[in-house]
Symmetry: C2
Subunit: 415 residues, 2 copies
């Protein structure tokens, strides 16, 4: 029997739209990995009635209830006393939790305040969950076969507790059915064009496998999901379908599951023993950031020159001032020079350059906001391509970076 979880995020700041709730997203992903299905996610404010009602409602639907938020030292934090009220128990000082708080403050050379001392008080019926990264302990409750877990809202504290204690404990306690997903990640094709290309394949999918189209920023992910008891069997069944799918859309597929384009591109460089350098203008360092987010990227990434200023393009990237005056900084000629130049200056095998009009200012009739040139240079060739994106600065920066990375990927496909 598959077990259901619900996630309750508590905090007025989430309802006001001031804080983006990334916790429930992270928790969902981790529960999915251990085969626990999230049935519902609920966000409520720091209000007594809402918190008590939601606990009651979730108890009727779910076997596991995970609560984040409202455990801070300040007065707007209500979760702990309300959990005690919900279970009809009192609060009691936990010496171990207090000692942990005292140690943290000692290290910082400070006295424990009354507010922090109160963080060591816990409902009598809970098991304390250590918080290595902060002062507020987590709590584990069990009542009538339902598990309730309360965690701080600070993401890294919550994640530490989940990884170290809660996930292993849930895995041990609930050995439910298996959910198996396979995600096929594509770039460079829209949702319905993709759907049309694979309509026959979709029509012949076995009923036991569910297909979803997940369009995100310039990409479409295809998710195949199967439910059952035997992971190896599900993996094999889904694998067979993926094998039939791929030949129909091969050049668009850059990876699977948690693959990120920047990591895929990095791996291609590593495998081909090639290094890379970027000359960025309108992307302002964003492509470099994506590449260097990847651990180990120093093996293939040399560096970048971000040339926002006209003079930086001339002095640091040897762009011909006359060409720039004639053709403009956003032109085929300029990105070709930038790509060639950054490659030789930074001693890389491949150079990629981007120059465009991110907006909101700077557009003209001939070159409206969203006009972007991307250049590619290696020892054999130097080429450039023009793109027309959107009116939105942020969208233009992100799509430029995506297309630059995809251009790199496609050039290696063809080599």
């Amino acid at each position: 029997m598959s077990k259901y979880a619900e996630i309750i995020s508590i905090g007025d700041e989430i309802l006001y739209g001031q804080t983006l709730d990334t916790n429930s997203h992270w928790i969902s992903g981790r529960l999915d990995e251990i085969g626990i299905k999230v049935r519902r996610k609920i966000t409520i404010g720091d209000e007594r009635e809402e918190i008590l009602n939601t606990l009651k409602e979730s108890t009727e639907r779910a076997d596991i209830i995970l609560v984040t938020g409202g455990l801070g030292p300040t007065r707007d934090d209500l979760t702990k006393p309300l959990l005690a009220e919900y279970f009809g128990v009192g609060l009691k000082m936990n010496d171990e939790a207090f000692e942990h708080i005292r140690t943290i403050f000692e290290k910082r050379g400070r006295e424990v305040t009354e507010l922090n001392r109160m963080q060591a008080e816990l409902p009598e019926n809970c098991i304390k969950i250590d918080n290595k990264l902060g002062t507020a302990p987590g709590m584990w409750f069990e009542e009538n076969g339902t598990v309730y877990v309360s965690m701080p809202g600070v993401p890294y504290e919550m994640e530490g507790m989940m990884n170290d204690i809660i996930l292993p404990k849930l895995k041990e306690k609930f050995t439910g059915g298996v959910i198996y997903h396979k995600i096929v990640k594509t770039v460079g094709i829209g949702e319905s064009a993709l759907a049309e290309k694979i309509v026959d394949w979709e029509d012949h999918l076995p009923k036991s496998i569910k297909l979803a189209y997940l369009p995100t920023f310039g990409q479409v992910k295809l998710r195949l999901t199967a439910l059952g008891d035997d992971r190896a069997h599900l993996e094999k069944e889904v694998g067979k379908e993926v094998e039939k799918l791929i030949p129909q859309i091969a050049s668009y597929v850059y990876g699977y599951d948690n693959d990120e384009l920047e990591k895929v591109v990095g791996d291609i460089l590593l495998k081909n023993n090639k290094s890379i350098a970027f000359a960025e203008s309108c992307t302002g360092g964003y492509i470099s950031h994506l590449m260097t987010k990847v651990p180990g990227s120093s093996q293939y990434y040399k560096g970048s020159i971000v040339s926002y200023d006209y003079d930086v393009k001339v002095n640091s990237l040897d762009v011909d001032r006359k060409v720039m005056e004639e053709k403009g900084a956003v032109s085929e000629e300029v990105v070709l020079q930038m790509a060639r130049s950054v490659r030789s200056k930074l001693g890389a095998d491949v150079g990629i350059s981007v120059s465009g009009i991110a907006g909101p200012g700077g557009g003209t009739e001939e070159k409206p906001v969203g006009t972007v040139w991307i250049g590619y240079s290696d020892e054999q060739k130097t080429v450039a391509k023009k793109f027309n994106f959107s009116k939105d600065r942020n969208v233009n920066i992100k799509l430029s970076a995506l297309c630059a990375l995809n251009m790199l990927r496609i050039n290696f496909l063809r080599n």
Copy 2:
């Protein structure tokens, strides 16, 4: 009477932790601006029973129910037929919606598929909401005084509909009470240290004003909230309290409400007529990205050299190879040279440099992962500061960027 809204996000991908729901966050913020309070946010899967039950439950609590997701052209999208079922009506072809879809496809030089044609069918009792940016129309329903709105899950399509039609319509229909927030943004101090500094002020806050501490990545936001009928009055009352607060924590406060540190720092540069350049190592372009996200940043931002490679530090930033061999690339001497050099090479008034061990590899006993040096150079002085962050690569990159921007801010405070 204040009106309550609930937001229902539909999509298995959100429950599986594959897609982060940014829609409900964005909607919350916009509703807050027009004085509509969000009571609850709920995420459910593409499942018949869950969708019908949630519509029923939300109807009991809220006056406005906003639904996103499940309107795509593919078979996993269930929202529209279930809304028709919920209201007990049929689906009917909407000629205007079909014409819109046909035009979009014509522009792309493609035939309308059967899947897309079906997107033009709408429940008989709804008012169509135009979708300028995509094929799926939105829907507006009213029943027994409750408003239901259904929108696509693609963020920019949803945002377009909200801005153009839904928000103005909600504002006109529900002229509720006013919620007034003032957010004071601090950097460089922890939550409980901040709470201790302002404990007296907090004790004397009028009961009508609610205070919340919102800790995020290296920052703490203080939110003051007041409810009432007269916005000008609330603004004045809250303003009085903020005026008393600021002198106690002045050097930590970098802004208010939607101010972003990178924008604040940019404005400081603009006001002082100073330009900036960065020499980034472990941050890999992230600081440059933050600075250039801001529209108009070309007025003060010259460019950056991202020197990941040893040779790039020597060749492009004139770092002394001998000094680097003796002291290491992560050292006071090297960031001082980098800051000075990038300033002169890129012709900027101020140079900021960062070199550190982001991890997971590269740490030593003397310089563990998380060790970061940040340099600052202007015409008067060149200084550097050492930081010890975390074991996590991503956290180290982001905290390094935050501290580099804050170092820039503080240097201008002192000038």
